[in-house]
Symmetry: C2
Subunit: 418 residues, 2 copies
């Protein structure tokens, strides 16, 4: 029998980190503070008002009038699974255009939901032309098209404008995973005809992982509502019991909508501290202004790009389609990529990332997201990266001094301010 660890550890006391990887990032300070707010009961008038208020805030974040705008209590992956298992019936055809790791994830989750999954792929570092998507939708005739917007594994940002219309024309619903892209790049749920979208807090929304904002169009709600099931323990006589029930209780969006909606039907016990965090993320976003936040991310991304280029580093992928908030950089062949990351972490307290699958060890991923899409965060990261690189290639003539990288990024900021 294990007894208590000896000696017991003290209260949590994390080291100071500047998180400039692909996420999670340092949350906005007021988001961290919001999680220390006291709890109230599940059906306290303050709680239900806070839930309704948070729904309204996220409608503005998603740019939608969708009534069905809620949080799923789990990480961004929980939101993805809730959307897919609630929309996909076993045997349904699902089209997944894959342009990075998270496309594979959507295919994987759809396979687990027993969909007939059809994938199309482009090489990592590219996105799909609309015409290719249109051809695939017409050919596969899917019930659902599951498409990542921003795939952090490659840093690419798939254009979505027009895709919803193509899907609707062929009777398909469009689901998109906007975890990595939302609030750092344009997203227009209604204007783009998106039927279902999910995200997480730990990227450009500037919060911690653990709550997944989700929005559903009326058409998507109809599909969910056609698969009803109410738990035996709280079922009333006239509640329907569908045969095509969703294969998950936790991710049954019908039940989650009944919990958030006027029935307030008990489902899970709301993760209230994460609700507070999600609310504060959206509130800060809207207080700064949707367009202002997008512009801040665009500027930070451009400054980081200029700085990285000034260091003599080459970028990965189609820069015309990258997300503003994360940049993939080729690790020079003569430089030990993991050693550089370790030195950045240990000597400067700065984290950058590598990537997955075919890009593992080949690229660094440098993020400029949420709270960290800031001038001082960008310049500090470039100064430190330049200093560490200089250690590893003192004689090859490629290493520009860190000061040049900082100057290049500063020029981007000053130009934008001029």
């Amino acid at each position: 029998m294990t007894t208590a660890a000896t000696p017991l550890p003290g209260p949590i006391d994390p080291p100071t980190r500047l998180l400039m990887g692909p996420g999670p990032i340092n949350p906005y300070p007021s988001v961290l503070r919001s999680m220390s707010a006291p709890l109230v009961g599940q059906y306290d008038p303050f709680m239900t008002a806070t839930m309704a208020e948070t729904q309204a805030l996220y409608r503005a974040v998603w740019r939608t009038d969708n009534d069905a705008t809620v949080l799923v209590d789990g990480t961004s992956r929980a939101g993805i699974e809730a959307a897919l298992v609630s929309l996909i019936r076993p045997g349904d055809r699902v089209l997944v255009p894959v342009f990075g790791r998270f496309g594979h994830l959507l295919a994987e989750i759809a396979e687990r939901a027993l969909a007939e999954v059809h994938t199309i792929e482009v090489p990592w570092g590219q996105v799909f032309p609309t015409s290719v998507l249109a051809e695939a939708v017409a050919r596969v005739r899917p019930v659902v098209v599951a498409l990542v917007q921003g795939d952090t594994s490659t840093t690419m940002n798939q254009p979505l404008d027009g895709i919803g219309e193509i899907c609707a024309r062929h009777g398909a619903m469009l689901y998109t995973d906007a975890t990595a892209s939302l609030c750092g790049n344009p997203f227009e749920a209604d204007a783009w005809g998106v039927d279902a979208a999910t995200a997480g807090l730990q990227k450009c929304l500037g919060g911690p992982s653990g709550s997944s904002p989700l929005t559903l169009s009326e058409r998507a709600v109809e599909v969910v509502r056609s698969r009803p099931r109410v738990e035996a323990g709280i079922r009333e006589d006239d509640d329907p019991l569908g045969a095509e029930f969703i294969r998950s209780n936790y991710f049954d969006l019908g039940m989650i909508l009944d919990y958030w909606g006027p029935r307030r039907l008990n489902h899970h016990t709301e993760a209230t501290s994460m609700l507070y965090a999600a609310r504060e993320c959206a509130r800060l976003h809207l207080a700064e202004g949707h367009e202002a936040v997008l512009a801040r991310h665009r500027l930070a991304g451009e400054a980081m790009l200029a700085g990285v280029r000034a260091l003599g580093l080459e970028t990965f992928g189609d820069l015309g389609h990258r997300m503003h908030n994360v940049l993939a950089v080729h690790i020079p062949s003569e430089v030990p990529g993991d050693a550089v990351r370790t030195e950045l972490l240990e000597d400067f307290g700065i984290e950058i990332g590598t990537s997955f699958g075919p890009l593992h060890g080949r690229v660094w991923r440098i993020g400029t997201m949420g709270f960290n899409a800031r001038r001082d965060a960008v310049l500090t990261t470039l100064a430190a990266l330049g200093a560490v690189l200089a250690r590893h290639r003192p004689h090859d003539g490629l290493a520009a001094p860190a000061s040049e990288a900082v100057a290049a990024a500063t020029a981007v900021y000053d130009g934008a301010g001029a």
Copy 2:
């Protein structure tokens, strides 16, 4: 297009509440504070060390040597579903003894996992004699027995000692949902032969909802490991692709174990703030001492019982088998139950609960859990409840003055201290 709510709300600022219902309850103050701690990266040495430390703390909480002791990122219900979908193959026989709402929930989740579900029931307010469970296991021959320990809907606490042995004798695994009972009542994962158990933070662990501690025996891990699946995006050539894969990605405990284990294989992005909260809940529990916490809950429960009786109220269910941390009280027929709850909330900032299904509107549920298993919380609740009751039955002769209830509860505390 919805734009920002006008005017934007301010930072979250909840009213002061003393949460004396069936949970969630007021977290320990240091648990709330822990969630404001800064984040670190997913693979930061501090992060992996914190995860390992948290696993060790929960082994001591669960009273187990199980290596497979982790957190599921979601509410307590997420942990239940992760355990059941990972252990149950479609078509497997599952026995669910139902003695309240949460037994129905286990049956419901097992049905969604396409199990052949067999239920047995006792009336709400009772628990199962061991002999009845033994007979059912021998008759049904289930692959999994899914049994709630403490069902908050009825406040009953099912004895588990000996049940693991019965299950093992018949080749069944024992899963138990200890959400409502853990840390307020004895739980011995190893001594009782429990194969899988899950909980939440929002009851006697004294935290917010949103993280689900889970532990698996070696036998349960073998079952999970017999159903392997690694995501395409991060799969290596020698990783197996099982046909009997678990029907959920998010709840695939094999992947979750690989994320927490030495491979640190990427799955979800850990909900770090909830990890901090879960760590602090366990740390506080062990710092106070396992037996001391159980004794504190027992004492608070006895004091509340004495006080409620002094008010002339009748309790619900088999008091010999109730949880220490929540008491169900019949609402007197002449008293408007919901009005009393509203007055307690509005005039005193105190929340108590009602219940579900057959008990909805028939009982109040009064909790004494975690941080709120305290003398001042018990006495304050009794004083306020007595005062509100006196408003509603001034002439019926049943309403003892609140002071008598407080005196009765005080006597329990003073007797224990003598």
